[in-house]
């Protein structure tokens, strides 16, 4: 099967990925994705009927611990990394009009 990625699909993926692509980038992304999906389709040659999807190679379970704080107060160090801060908070653009 030859994949054809539509403008709508690439726009939708852009929304999911939180990426803003230029018209030129979009065209390139479409071609790249079509090529990759054509290649990934080789997996359809495999009969996976009845095979459980394997998300983890070892039978691991949730690891629980008591909810106790062990690290110290690092507010200053954390906020020092913020591109923009206002006093003790991260500053973001206004979200509610």
């Amino acid at each position: 099967m030859k994949h054809k990625i539509s403008d709508e699909t690439i726009d939708y993926v852009g929304i999911l990925a939180k990426l803003e692509l230029s018209a030129e980038e979009k065209e390139k992304a479409k071609i790249d994705m079509e090529k990759m999906l054509d290649y990934i389709d080789t997996l359809n040659e495999l009969d996976t009927e009845g095979i459980e999807p394997m998300s983890h190679v070892f039978p691991v379970n949730n690891v629980f611990r008591e909810d106790i704080v062990t690290n110290g107060d690092k507010k200053e160090e954390i906020l020092a990394n913020a591109p923009l801060r206002k006093e003790d908070r991260f500053e973001v653009p206004k979200t509610i009009a």
Partner: protein, 491 residues
């Protein structure tokens, strides 16, 4: 003898016996780095001041008898996707510009406990996505054996730094071959441990179900000693495994008598360089002469590992990289209108082309309507690949093959055709999908003088079998393939 030419363990011993000081070693690698960095670019950050300070402190602890381990005082370089408190950590991406973590990765803490002196952070493909170290925002790293060629990737800086003697050993990370392939290209020893062996706490995630941290070293003994230092059970990483054995150096024995080695026919077929095929067969003969039983077999499903890998890794990457949004750390676009526009512009300007490509693919395969056909299909394929390895390990102790289908390509030849670059991962990605340990060991040079690496793959938790095999090979070949790079004659 030049202090730089010693292995990590040799240097550690000299420091312990007071025949060298930690400061001597640190100054030597920093001087070396300053001399060759212009040409090689292994480091994103070379921390001279910090290293000199650590050297003093570590020397004091050695002198007082507090630090007694074999790696105490030995300078190390760390891949720039491992967090170190207060030290710039970039993942070689613009989006992490200026980011200084507030905690240190568990693997690095373990090294510090062993008395390591951290010289700096090494260059990599952006967010470990790439096979050449050319997708780095900080420019490509060059192969020290021939600077017209790439060092491989994504741990290209870590491997080049060891080959160029800019450190005594380094840490890399391996999601689809990112330790083994550049180790092969740079003629050094690299090991990806069984999933869960080294804590991923503080490793900036790419494909969480595949990522493992591992050592890059000058020889097999160093590699075993480093693994012994960094492996630990860590409750801060919920996928960390409590192993029965952590004594990896006990496997440094020159003996493969009766060891069953399988070479997948599918790993020697079409697409493999003739020089590499010859080197792998020769390596098999060497091990056979030492008493191993070698045969060829059909592993099967080899051609499905790459498509399954790119679906799973991209899916996990698209989720893991959502956190980079210009709010908490790193880069934020200067001009924006509102929150969502800020996110989008920040990410579009902050990520490079390869990272965006994988985030897009990952978002697509996880999206409603495609999740079953792509993501679940890939996870089912992964289960089949794991079964194929399980069957192989019923018959063999070790799987032997090449680490990559070619030696290091020339700079600038790979990124124009991403599909072709992905195909270079054919012998490495299946190991990550199945969570197995894999090791790359220098096994010769091609007609152009570029290093060739052989890959040893073991069953889960059988690192010691790999180390024993590699050590026996190294003894049998008298380390003739483990030679440091001779950079640009004049340097």
């Amino acid at each position: 003898m030049d202090i730089l030419s010693f292995t990590a363990l040799e240097l550690g011993k000299m420091i312990k016996e007071k025949r060298a000081s930690v400061l001597d070693a640190v100054k030597a690698v920093i001087e070396r780095a300053k001399a060759v960095e212009q040409e090689i670019n292994s480091y994103v950050t070379l921390d001279e001041e910090g290293a000199l300070k650590q050297a003093e402190e570590v020397q004091r602890l050695i002198d007082s008898g507090t630090l007694t381990g074999p790696l105490a005082g030995v300078p190390v370089a760390v891949k720039d996707n491992l967090c170190i408190e207060g030290q710039l950590t970039t993942c070689s991406s613009k989006i992490l510009s200026g980011f200084k973590p507030i905690y240190t990765a568990e693997a690095v803490l373990n090294l510090k406990k062993a008395g390591a002196v951290i010289i700096g952070k090494t260059n990599m493909d952006e967010f470990a996505m790439g096979s050449t170290t050319e997708t780095s925002y900080y420019g490509p790293t060059k192969n020290p054996h021939n600077t017209a060629h790439v060092p491989g990737g994504s741990s290209g800086g870590s491997c080049a730094a060891v080959a160029a003697q800019e450190c005594y050993y380094s840490l890399g990370s391996d999601t689809g071959g990112s330790i083994r392939q550049p180790s092969a290209f740079c003629g050094v020893v690299g090991l990806k441990p069984t999933y869960g062996t080294v804590s991923r706490y503080g490793l900036i995630a790419y494909g969480s179900s595949l990522d493992q941290i591992g050592p890059v070293a000058k020889d097999v003994s160093d590699c075993a000693a480093i693994l012994e230092a960094i492996a630990s059970h860590d409750t801060k990483d919920s996928t960390s495994v409590k192993r029965k054995d952590y004594d990896f150096t006990s496997a440094l024995t020159d003996n493969v008598k009766g060891l069953k080695i399988g070479i997948p026919r599918d790993y020697l077929g079409e697409g493999l360089d003739e020089d590499i095929r010859r080197a792998i067969r020769k390596a098999a003969e060497v091990l056979e002469e030492r008493g191993a039983v070698v045969e060829e077999f059909d592993l099967s499903l080899v051609q499905y590992a790459i498509p399954a890998y790119y679906v799973i890794a991209s899916a996990e990457a698209s989720s893991n990289l959502e956190r980079f949004d210009g709010v908490k750390y790193g880069y934020r676009t200067p001009d924006y209108e509102g929150l969502h526009n800020m996110y989008k512009k920040t990410r579009s300007e902050g990520f490079g082309a390869e990272v965006k490509r994988r985030i897009m693919l990952g978002s697509f395969v996880l999206s409603s309507g495609y999740y079953d056909a792509y993501y679940l299909k890939a996870l089912r394929t992964k289960a089949l690949i794991k079964q194929a390895f399980d069957r192989a390990f019923e018959k063999y102790d070790v799987i032997l093959g090449p680490a990559a289908p070619s030696t290091a390509p020339e700079l600038g030849k790979s990124l124009t055709d991403p599909m072709k670059m992905y195909l270079g991962d054919i012998y490495t990605v299946a190991v990550n999908l199945a969570g197995l340990p894999g090791m790359s060991v220098p096994a010769g040079k091609d007609s152009k003088g570029l290093p060739i690496g052989m890959q040893l793959i073991g069953n889960s938790f059988q690192e010691k079998t790999l180390i024993r095999t590699a050590y026996t090979y190294e003894c049998a070949t008298n380390k003739q393939y483990v030679v440091p790079a001779n950079i640009g004659e004049g340097v």
